[in-house]
Symmetry: C3
Subunit: 341 residues, 3 copies
């Protein structure tokens, strides 16, 4: 497990509706960040530490488009430049706090934690189903006290579903086949489980007791996993058996080296009624709390002896590739920084 | 105070009735251990950390005689061998977790934390009075946030009883005489207090207001102390003055370097009525909570400045010997390990 | 920020009425201290760690003028000498705990943490208004989880009042002028704010809506700040406009390197009625809790990255001088100690 983070990358900083006209403090990649919106609604992210006496700016107040420190009134504009110091006329141009490039997309506010000149919004992962018509989303925001890669790993080996989520979405699918693929900037797994007992959640949708299920899992660095679950009932007597899609976009954003912010949007391609929407949300909450329980226990177990060995099986191919890819990216970034100095 | 533990030794892992058909997690000597019973009742202790992704096995479930990880279903038999990996046919013979030799005796499950080939149950301390007929036991299990040797030290200098336990078992016995003896594998103290005010607990037994009391305290490495308390009333007018024995076996099992599991069984050689048995238990609870209060405060005080000096008196002879013996044993073990490599 | 403390200095150990016939444990400059009063009322401060087995003496009991350890009964007189060890006749003269010079003055018990031979009570700061007639005091004792110099800094830059205490004592006084002065053993600031909106608290006193305010702030090493606030109403129509003085003595006593004990006495030079006295206390509580909130947030922000840079303005002249003076004093003390060895 890496002890560092990739900096030149987009991360989810917050759900769009978490950011408003009151300062929002959020620790991201071990850096204190404060988020707010200007009067015109454009989101702003600044270093959450006044350059004067290091009070968190999130304890201050928004004045127009600016953020005023709640301790001595130093005031910063959306670029991080200090524009007012109470008690003096001039403000030296060198005074200010760091600002972070942001982009608002797919229901999230995205932040770039590295070199601002490299922040290209076209590199933001495509999570359009979070907000697209024809998709019905439900959302979970969950703090998890574990290294973010443990959660990515959780998603890249869905054999855990049968054991952790037996009461909701799990089914005995241990005979599933797994295909894999790795490109320079993704890891992709396809898990096909034919003829399984239809999981409880899908039975609610009136599907037949047995189904075929295909899960396509795509990891995108540094912390994103999208999972498309296609469940097709086994109903040969029907002209057109029901087939339902759920597309879940996960952002596993590091808070510190041992904690993370979990942003999940699960979108169905069928609306259903209000009871179904409610059940969908309850199920999602239960599933991710089950994940949190086992992953936080795993983190604690690792901390007891970080050098304890562990073995990987062919089902871990995805997470092994993910760790390798992240190590390469982080090392490349460190080497480039070194070379630039 | 040593920063390590003796590994080649028996420790109490749990009271026998704590171990059943649900996994019990217990941290012993800073190692995570999970305990359970096979279908035939035989207790099992495994490393509480799956060799796959390091989730604690105690979050899993017992399937027959085996323990199945609650994360991805790796399954281990009572020897620690991995016998099933979901999604693959073969399990390499090298895959498994550590198992620990156990023995069930004297109402406890005993565990051997070192080299399994050296685990000889005949070396388990003789605590038979915990369960023998003619003895009426009461039990206290108590976590204490202190180095285990601080608790052993507490037991090896019973001059504390007058100050810490004045309301229960204490009496002003500062004129007691103390004899001592040390062998290669024990430290023994005999404390004789003639003509003391009979402690409150014994007054309940209808004894005369003054008594003679003899306490024989035996330390057995690495963490056991047995105390036989013989209290004889001063009643020269009686043909046969009452004399009562209480034998208390203590196991001070390290959890970490700053915490321990306290297993205490106090057995009387007289039955008494239900009220007495209840009073006996209440007294024991109060006594050991009083000990815990002062010892945890002592631990915190030591942590403020671990190098702060302290003086010993002749009453500390026992604990000085105990520390010396434990240091020798731990160093011998480390040296043997070094030589074997 | 210094990582050490000045030892040869008087500190406030406790308010006088906190010290009585029950032991009071207090951590001062990272040292455990126990305070109590002898039978004749004279306060005593001893090392709060028995020299025998390092139990805190504050868990023991006062016997006459002496303190008896609650673990094994070692007993210490007010000089720290051990005068009784249960179970033995003689007590070696070398056995004892440290005692600290104390002085009781201005409603406080003052302690000298360094070389006792240098403890000269004439060097205690003059806080006589805490108890003098003609002054009406109110008091706040507050633990703050921050380095003590952050609280001193808070007091040496009162431009924070407008931002942190807007609902109580603050007013927009950013046009205030600031004069400064530094001697070998003090830093003095004079802040004059002409024609300000009279702060809410003073309006309660029936003053005119606008006032002139002069604040004289004096720092005395190692941790004292006295502030005289003179508020004069702008009422040219009156023969004698009202002018009120408040004198606030602050002791910012280090508990550890990241926490402190805050002792504040604010004295008015006018009695007012009971409602005013009550309001005065409520205001003071609110003001210092507001300070605590922002300072503890600042401390946490600094701990996230202790090397994060910060800039100072001319308003920080006082705190810059204070830090320089404290660094010099601490270095001089260390050098003298070095030379003496």
């Amino acid at each position: 497990m890496s002890g560092k983070f990739q900096l030149n990358a987009w991360y989810v900083a917050a759900a769009a509706d978490e950011v408003g006209r009151a300062p929002l403090a959020r620790l991201l990649l071990s850096e204190p960040v404060v988020l707010y919106r200007r009067g015109d609604g454009v989101p702003v992210a600044l270093e959450d530490r006044c350059c004067h006496r290091r009070a968190p700016l999130s304890k201050g107040k928004i004045v127009g488009d600016r953020l005023q420190c709640g301790y001595h009134g130093f005031t910063f504009d959306a670029s991080g430049a200090c524009v007012a110091i109470p008690g003096q006329e001039r403000v030296p141009s060198s005074v200010g706090v760091r600002s972070y490039p942001l982009a608002e997309r797919h229901g999230f506010v995205w932040i770039w934690m590295g070199d601002a000149r490299k922040a290209d919004p076209s590199r933001i992962p495509d999570f359009k189903e979070n907000v697209a018509s024809g998709w019905w989303p439900t959302r979970v925001l969950l703090p998890i006290k574990a290294h973010y890669q443990l959660v990515i790993e959780n998603l890249l080996d869905l054999s855990h579903v049968a054991f952790v989520h037996g009461e909701t979405i799990g089914s005995d699918d241990t005979r599933a086949t797994l295909d894999w693929d790795r490109g320079s900037d993704y890891v992709k797994l396809t898990r096909k489980a034919p003829d399984i007992a239809t999981p409880p959640f899908y039975l609610l949708n009136g599907m037949a007791p047995r189904s075929d299920q295909v899960k396509t899992i795509t990891f995108i660095p540094p912390c994103f996993v999208s999972i498309l679950v296609t469940t097709t009932e086994r109903a040969p007597e029907k002209a057109k058996p029901r087939s339902l899609n759920i597309l879940i976009h996960h952002a596993c954003v590091p808070e510190t080296e041992t904690s993370m912010h979990y942003f999940v949007v699960s979108a169905r391609d069928y609306e259903g009624d209000a009871a179904l929407a409610d059940k969908s949300h309850q199920t999602l909450m239960k599933v991710f709390n089950e994940d949190r329980d086992i992953i936080e226990a795993q983190q604690q177990c690792i901390e007891l002896d970080p050098a304890s060995p562990y073995v990987s099986t062919h089902l871990d191919w995805g997470s092994v590739q993910m760790r390798r890819m992240m190590n390469e990216l982080i090392e490349q970034e460190a080497a480039a920084l070194q070379a630039a100095q």
